[in-house]
Symmetry: C2
């Protein structure tokens, strides 16, 4: 296996072409990983989530890690890791456009990890349900690829 | 989609039947996720790793999170999350048996994430290479399943 470092552009491209990754937050030194569904745009990963442990923790400490991987049909793989910063997008008129944009990106894809999200809802209703709309700002990004030659 | 909580036994079974998961460690509040290859035995996840960022961080702060997921052919999934504690297994005679046991479990499976591990080596040589052999002690475990009925 040959391992090489991915360029920033290659890392970004991988984030753009995928919709599911893993997100880790941390509280008092204890990390917590969950799979999450996102949409990448403008150096941010947008996502919706039900209220719960990960939102509670990210509100206390906005430093997060996101990892997305891609497997080839052979044994090859690519893996991208992001150091990110959680930013909650308040449910206010001023954020309506961002919320609609994220909802539009996210609703194109059927696989959700959050139970609440299994009930598709109209964009105009989204802000009235107990979902949190957030973005992960990409502070640093790096990646590696393994291939069989 | 119907979501239910997995029992501890179901969570453990999922860890036993898989070999690849995601591991997060944290330093100064910043989490860091990597995919990792493990073998489960006796309430521990055993793994080898090259020296590097994750080992450096886990040596400083042994609190980690491990997440393993399983996707069904439909939209269903299971996800298990472990709160764990990193324990390095020193490269000494007293640990030879544990090392051989872990190596035996791990070497049955071809997919490794770590570059160094793409060169299979004999168990007797393992302890002379710059790999770290460690286990994640399972402190807490929880899981959920989503199914389409």
């Amino acid at each position: 296996m040959r391992i090489r470092t991915l360029s920033t552009l290659e890392c970004t491209k991988l984030l753009m072409t995928h919709r599911v990754g893993h997100l880790a937050c941390a509280k008092d030194g204890q990390p917590y990983i969950v799979p999450f569904h996102y949409a990448y745009a403008d150096n941010r990963l947008y996502a919706f989530s039900m209220l719960g442990k990960k939102i509670d923790w990210m509100r206390l400490n906005p430093l997060v890690s996101v990892q997305v991987d891609e497997h080839s049909t052979t044994r090859g793989w690519k893996s991208v890791v992001v150091d990110g910063r959680y930013e909650e997008l308040p449910d206010r008129i001023g954020h309506k456009m961002q919320l609609d944009h994220a909802w539009s990106l996210l609703s194109k894809h059927a696989d959700w990890w959050e139970p609440g999200a299994f009930k598709p809802i109209a964009s105009s209703d989204a802000e009235h349900l107990p979902h949190v709309f957030f973005s992960i700002f990409v502070v640093e990004i790096s990646g590696r690829e393994a291939s069989e030659n």
